[in-house]
Every structure is written in structure tokens, then in C-alpha cells.
């Protein structure tokens, strides 16, 4: 099955359904319905790490790794924002090493904004948002050096990472920083687990900022994504049943919910 370039009628219907779920969750959150978010274990680790470096008066660092402009980045920004606010309260130096110039612009904007929101705009120092390199390993070497010179008390690694993940995490480990990582790349989570105090896995990264901020919109997003996943789970369940029936009686092997999604416009019209 190759990648989907254009929506089939089935996909449009599905998209409509998903948007409906999305709107419903926003509506019900706006309407004041309370949803409790299951505690994400990593959250305490984040607050704890900041607290520690506040005691020791050490800087904290936050890196989005190789994340480019994408939903993942958007989720990371949520976390960065609340971390920045806490850091601003404690008057901690916040280092944000950068990989992509475009992302740097977005990040700088977010950080500046966060400082303003807590009325500490004057504390914001643009030079702490350091562009290192757009080359994977040049970035890694820069990060290693930076961490060893600044010796932050807490290091956060949130976003998309590749092979360099272990280099970054090991650097933090070497200077004894309390590290919390969150990655959407499962291949790298293993290395974070081995080197960080706590690692948020995959989707937890998206849940984290909602939990931290308790901001209704973010909560609504998490609610929506849970409902959508539930929808897909049911879908898979049906699919599995169909497949089993199909394997038992091969005359029924045409039973397959996904095939509906692949009906072309032509089929629909003739239908």
C-alpha cells in the first residue's frame, strides 16, 4: 500500500468524523465539563528538576533536538512555555540550543512571550537562544560543549531525535544534570531511558503540556485525541474480526473495513 496523495471519499468522511470529535471536545470543555487528565509520571520529574537547579542556582537547558516546524514542535513549545515561566520565577538562566533557524525564530518568540506573561520581560536574554548548527553531528558537538561549559542543573530533551540522542543525553549525564526527555521517535527512547531521570514516551509528550498548563484548549486537544484513538481502536477490532472470519471462510475474505477508505471517486459515482 503506497502513501496517500489525495483524499478518497472514504477519507473525507473519516476526516469529517474526526473533526466532529474535535469540535465536540472543544465544545464540552468550553461548556465547562471537567475532564481529569491521568497523571503523567514524568511531570513531577520536570518540576523536581527545575526545583533542584534553583536550589543550586544552576542554569537549565531545553532542546527540541532535530524537530522542524511540525505538530511535534508545537507540543514541545507548550512544555517550553511553562518551563520558561517557572524558570523566570526562580530567575534561572535558560539555555535553548537550536538546530533549525526557522524553529529558532518560533522558539525565541515563545520564550520572549513566556517571560512577558509572567511580567519578567526584562529578564529575557536573546543570547541564551543559541543557534548551534543545522548539521546533526555539528549540533551534537556544540551541545556537548555547551552543556559542559554551562553545567546546567536540569536538561530537557523534548521532540524528534535521531542517532545523536545518546550523545546529548550522555553530555547532561556527565555534568550531573537532572534530565527529562520526551521523544516521538521510539528508536531513541531506549537511550533516553538509560541516561535520563525520566523519559516521556511518544504521545505522553503531547499530553505533558496540557497537564502542566491545565489550559482548557490543550486539555480539549488531549480529550479529542483520546476519543479519536478510541474510534480507531474500534475500527481495528472490527478489522481483526473480519480478517479472522475471512481466514476461516475464504469466500468472505473481501470483508475489510479499510477497503471502504480506498474506494475511488469513480467507484462511488458508479455505486
Amino acid at each position: 500500500m503506497t502513501g496517500i496523495e489525495h483524499a478518497t471519499p472514504g477519507i473525507i468522511v473519516l476526516l469529517g468524523l474526526l473533526s466532529a470529535v474535535f469540535c465536540w471536545s472543544f465544545y464540552s470543555v468550553r461548556a465547562g465539563r471537567k475532564f481529569e487528565i491521568r497523571k503523567i509520571p514524568g511531570i513531577d520529574a520536570i518540576e523536581d528538576a527545575i526545583g533542584r537547579s534553583a536550589e543550586q542556582g544552576r542554569a537549565i537547558s531545553f532542546s527540541t533536538g532535530l524537530t522542524d516546524i511540525s505538530p511535534t514542535l508545537y507540543a514541545c513549545l507548550g512544555v517550553l512555555e511553562s518551563i520558561t515561566k517557572t524558570a523566570a520565577q526562580y530567575k534561572l538562566k535558560l539555555l535553548v540550543p537550536q538546530y533549525s533557524p526557522e524553529v529558532m525564530a518560533v522558539v525565541e518568540d515563545t520564550v520572549r512571550q513566556a517571560y512577558r506573561d509572567v511580567g519578567k520581560g526584562s529578564l529575557f536574554d536573546p543570547s541564551t537562544i543559541k543557534f548551534l548548527s543545522s548539521e546533526q553531528f555539528a549540533f551534537a558537538s556544540g551541545y556537548m560543549g555547551l552543556i559542559h561549559r554551562e553545567k546546567p542543573g536540569a536538561a530537557f530533551l523534548f521532540g524528534a531525535f535521531a542517532a545523536e540522542s545518546l550523545i546529548l543525553a550522555e553530555a547532561g549525564q556527565q555534568v550531573g544534570a537532572r534530565q527529562v526527555a520526551a521523544s516521538v521517535s521510539p528508536e531513541q527512547v531506549a537511550f533516553f531511558i538509560c541516561t535520563c531521570e525520566y523519559t516521556l514516551i511518544g504521545e505522553e509528550l503531547f499530553g505533558a503540556s496540557a497537564y502542566l498548563s491545565r489550559d482548557p484548549v490543550q486539555v480539549a486537544t488531549v480529550v479529542a485525541q483520546d476519543r479519536v484513538k478510541l474510534l480507531f481502536c474500534v475500527f481495528i477490532l472490527i478489522g481483526v474480526v473480519c480478517a479472522t472470519v475471512g481466514s476461516w471462510d475464504s469466500t468472505l475474505s473481501w470483508l475489510n473495513p479499510v477497503s471502504l477508505l480506498f474506494l475511488s471517486w469513480g467507484d462511488v459515482v458508479t455505486w
Binding site: V106, A138, S247
Partner: protein
């Protein structure tokens, strides 16, 4: 061997040693090459963007450089004025630089906005492109009959696959079950499975990473040393 290649090997070897010296502690030798690396990388990147994208794909068509003039005064094609529309994204992109002015910094948010919007919409397509095939291939029969016989092993594997899939998906529900509900009590079951997966990833990566270490050691102990000997004429 050309002078440049020889020099490359010698420099590369010194650089490699500098990077490895970091393993003892962060030191000046490392710092020099770290900064050199970043400098060189930062110098190469933009030129590549310019050389491989901006110039051939945008500027040349815009200026009509892609059209060849023939000896008889005719041209390979007529100039396409629509290409001039590229001026607008260029201007939009330039807005990024307003972030350096206190007064007009907000303008950069327009450029950021467009990028966010575009990648948002693209991600919608990306979602279906990634997820639909995955769902389709998760439809595994948990009881497999093939060529008249019941396939016990395959059935067990498929059953495990589906079960694990659901258990782990369940782990990632955040707002579904109230505390004490079945969901919230079973949520944690996914975690051990995750750990197995990560362990496996770790194990299967080890060999590849080590291979790279071996490659470097060989580079130093063969190419580099012989290059040094080549230069010093073996007199040291």
C-alpha cells in the same frame, strides 16, 4: 595521492583525536575543533540551500535563465511571467529578519504563521498517509486457517500482536477513564511491553554503533598514521 587528500586525512585524524579527547574531559583541544566544525557546517549549509534549491528552482526560472537562446534569434520557450509570483514568498520569508527589530518584531510572526499553517495542513495529509496503511496491516486474523489446516503458531503470534497493540494503545489514554475505572487500572500494563520494545531497539542498534567506532579506529591506525609517515618521510 593529491595534496588536498593527504591534508584532509591528516586534519581529519587530528580532529578525530580531538573529539575523542572529550571522553577524558572537556578540553581546549576539543573546543577548537568543536568550534571549527560548527563554523564549517554553518558555512556549507546556506550555500547548499542556495546552490541546490533557491538558485536553480526559484531564481533562474524567475529571471528566465532556464530559457536557452538559439543561434537564429529564437528561444527554447516563452518567458513565464507567473514565476515572478515567487517574489511574494521571498518577501514573506524576509519578514523573519524583522525579529531583530524591537519595533517590528511582530512582523516575523506572519512568516512563522504561514509556516505553521502550511505544516499543519500538510500534517493532516501526512496523518492519513502514515496511519491508514498501518491500520490496514494491523487487521491480522487471530485464528489462521490456511490450505485446509489451522496454523497454531501464526494464530498465537497474531493474537499476541493484536493484544499487545491494544494494551499499549490503552497505556496512552489520558482522559478516558476516571480514577479506579478499568481503563485507568489496566493503563499501566502497557509499560512493561514498552520496555521490552526499547530493550530490543537498544540491542539491535549496538552493532551498528560499534561498527562506526571500529571504522574510526581503523582510520586513525591506518590511513592517518600512514599519511603522517608519508609527510614526515617516516622520520620521527
Amino acid at each position: 595521492m593529491a595534496q588536498s587528500e593527504l591534508l584532509s586525512i591528516i586534519l581529519g585524524g587530528i580532529g578525530t583525536i580531538a573529539i575523542f579527547s572529550f571522553l577524558i574531559k572537556e578540553n581546549y583541544f576539543y573546543r577548537i575543533f568543536e568550534h571549527m566544525f560548527i563554523g564549517v557546517a554553518a558555512g556549507i549549509g546556506p550555500i547548499l540551500v542556495l546552490r541546490d534549491f533557491l538558485w536553480p528552482q526559484i531564481v533562474e526560472p524567475m529571471l528566465g535563465y532556464t530559457i536557452t537562446a538559439y543561434p537564429d534569434g529564437t528561444f527554447s520557450a516563452e518567458y513565464q511571467p507567473l514565476y515572478f509570483l515567487y517574489v511574494f514568498p521571498m518577501i514573506l520569508g524576509m519578514l523573519y529578519y524583522s525579529m531583530y527589530s524591537r519595533k517590528h518584531a511582530w512582523l516575523s510572526k506572519i512568516a512563522i504563521g504561514v509556516s505553521l499553517g502550511a505544516s499543519g495542513a500538510l500534517a493532516i495529509r501526512g496523518f492519513f498517509a502514515e496511519v491508514i496503511p498501518q491500520i490496514a496491516s494491523s487487521f491480522k486474523p487471530i485464528l489462521v486457517w490456511r490450505d485446509g489446516g489451522f496454523q497454531a503458531v501464526e494464530s498465537v503470534n497474531n493474537l499476541l500482536f493484536v493484544a499487545i497493540l491494544f494494551l499499549v494503545l490503552n497505556y496512552f489514554f489520558f482522559t478516558l477513564g476516571r480514577t479506579g475505572s478499568v481503563q485507568s487500572r489496566t493503563a499501566s500494563w502497557g509499560r512493561p511491553l514498552l520496555m521490552v520494545c526499547f530493550g530490543a531497539f537498544f540491542g539491535s542498534t549496538v552493532m551498528a554503533r560499534l561498527a562506526l567506532l571500529v571504522e574510526r579506529v581503523q582510520f586513525i591506525s591506518r590511513d592517518w598514521i600512514s599519511a603522517i609517515i608519508n609527510v614526515t618521510g617516516g622520520t620521527f
